[in-house]
């Protein structure tokens, strides 16, 4: 006859030390942190000084961390639809911090949060007034004649418009990240803003600036199931400190939308979405033609393969439109945001930008 031994129940403190219990306690603690937004992760923490301000626009200079920097400074130009801290997300996960460590003198044009009176600002203001004025300030502060521009999304578009109009612009290099140029490739955005059913004049005349909530909802509509899938993934990964930190960082930025200046929005819809004038070489700003073929400086263009906001069909033709001899396309996996701030960015994009710009910044 065999004797059956009942396993001994471990003492209570031992139970709490088991992996499963520890993991679930961690999950509970982190879920409370996320729900209450307790100890939110720090964003945009790299030390900087405001060197020029006009309206809501601020031009920052990040404090160099090396004794010796490349001769040509970099000006980061942000999109109009979101806040610029995606490029300086968190210590250790910041493009700005990376570029400073690589020995660049880094500046950033932050358009700020448009006020109601800014609804009259058109694309001309951003591309032909604010951006050139910021570049003048960078020239004054650094004593250098030329700058490199790194534009993200619409920021890249402003860089192209400026250089396409001002042929002797003091720009040595242009890096565009996720910059749409062929608006026929804008997918669902193009469809939704079709002139047959979208009355942009009525919208802008009624609202002035386009509310951030409207912009956020339109982005969410591109991937309707994403929000719920992300919640499910968050629950699955609540035990993982790094995952939760990254979720909170990106979630904060995605939801931290700003209004879109009304007049610029009207132009974007009419001139670019409806007429696709930039692609056809027919876009005029302040009566001056944007001639992308006249851009002769080196151009690096970075695109994301699964970008919903600036689909690859809209971004791909960029280098074929500019007249530069020294131009390069880089296509990375990932989406609009992970292109500049995700894992792909840390290991592939940032080193590529540093290497490409470094060779052209001496």
């Amino acid at each position: 006859m065999t004797t059956v031994r009942t396993p001994e129940t471990p003492p209570i403190p031992e139970i709490f030390r088991t992996e499963v219990v520890k993991r679930n306690l961690d999950r509970f603690r982190r879920s409370v942190d996320v729900l209450l937004d307790r100890d939110p992760p720090v964003v945009g923490a790299t030390p900087k000084d405001v060197i020029y301000a006009k309206g809501t626009m601020r031009l920052y200079r990040y404090r160099p961390v090396t004794d010796e920097v490349y001769r040509i400074p970099i000006v980061l130009v942000m999109s109009l639809i979101s806040k610029p801290y995606i490029l300086d997300l968190s210590p250790g996960q910041s493009l700005v911090e990376y570029l400073l460590r690589e020995g660049f003198d880094v500046f950033m044009v932050d358009w700020g949060v448009p006020r109601p009176e800014d609804s009259r600002l058109g694309l001309e203001y951003y591309a032909l007034e604010a951006l050139p004025r910021s570049i003048e300030e960078v020239q004054r502060v650094t004593g250098e004649k030329e700058v490199s521009i790194l534009g993200y999304c619409l920021g890249g578009l402003f860089a192209l418009m400026y250089n396409g109009i001002v042929q002797d612009a003091p720009v040595a290099n242009i890096v565009c990240a996720a910059t749409p140029v062929d608006f026929d490739g804008m997918g669902l955005f193009k469809r939704w803003s079709d002139r047959r059913w979208f009355d942009v004049d009525r919208l802008v005349d009624s609202l002035g600036n386009i509310p951030p909530d409207l912009i956020l909802r339109s982005f969410e509509l591109l991937r309707p199931a994403q929000r719920w899938a992300t919640y499910a993934r968050l629950t699955d990964n609540l035990w993982n400190d790094l995952w939760v930190k990254n979720y909170r960082l990106f979630n904060r930025w995605v939801n931290d939308q700003i209004p879109f200046p009304g007049e610029a929005y009207r132009q974007m819809i009419k001139e670019l979405m409806w007429e696709n004038k930039l692609m056809k070489g027919e876009l005029d700003l302040s009566g001056r033609r944007v001639d992308l073929a006249a851009i002769a400086c080196p151009v690096l263009h970075v695109m994301a393969e699964h970008d919903d906001i600036a689909p690859i069909d809209a971004t791909r033709p960029l280098t074929s439109l500019v007249g530069s001899e020294d131009k390069e396309d880089v296509i990375l996996k990932g989406g609009h945001v992970s292109l500049v701030a995700g894992r792909n960015a840390w290991f592939r994009l940032w080193p590529k930008i540093s290497e490409w710009l470094g060779a052209r910044s001496v």
Binding site: E68, Y70, A229
Partner: protein
């Protein structure tokens, strides 16, 4: 123990299912939202939204005016004037700086003037070659 276990990893199966389900739903909704009828619906919704916002703004303006309280447009106007003053102040400041620099007394803020790193850096490969 789990290394030698042949049972399927339920967690991994669930994650794969989640990714696939998300992809399928997104594709389905994108197909629906890419139709003309959805575009028309969205356009109609935006028209109603714009009209509603305009009516609310007009009524609010009228009510505030009746109560003799500054309305949104009054505040926007004030803000525009303040921006004008700010810009003029900025222009005056720049002129003073330019004058000060011309007479040999530059008046830049300390934080900016102190940042004068040598602008002689070269890419690693070039620097190694030079050595």
């Amino acid at each position: 123990m789990p290394d030698s276990d042949d049972r399927p990893d339920v967690g991994q199966l669930w994650r794969t299912w989640l990714t696939e389900t998300e992809r399928q739903w997104n594709t389905f909704f994108n197909d629906v939202m890419g139709t003309d009828s959805f575009g028309r619906f969205l356009g109609g919704y935006m028209d109603i939204y714009s009209t509603f916002q305009r009516l609310v703004a007009q009524n609010m303006e009228r009510s505030l005016s009746t109560l003799n309280v500054p309305s949104r447009s009054d505040i926007v106007e004030l803000s525009e004037r303040l921006s004008g003053v700010e810009e003029r102040l900025g222009a005056i400041e720049s002129s003073i700086d330019a004058l000060a620099e011309a007479v040999g007394h530059p008046s830049e803020p300390a934080a900016v003037t102190q940042l004068r790193p040598r602008r002689t850096r070269r890419p690693r490969a070039q620097a190694a070659e030079a050595q």
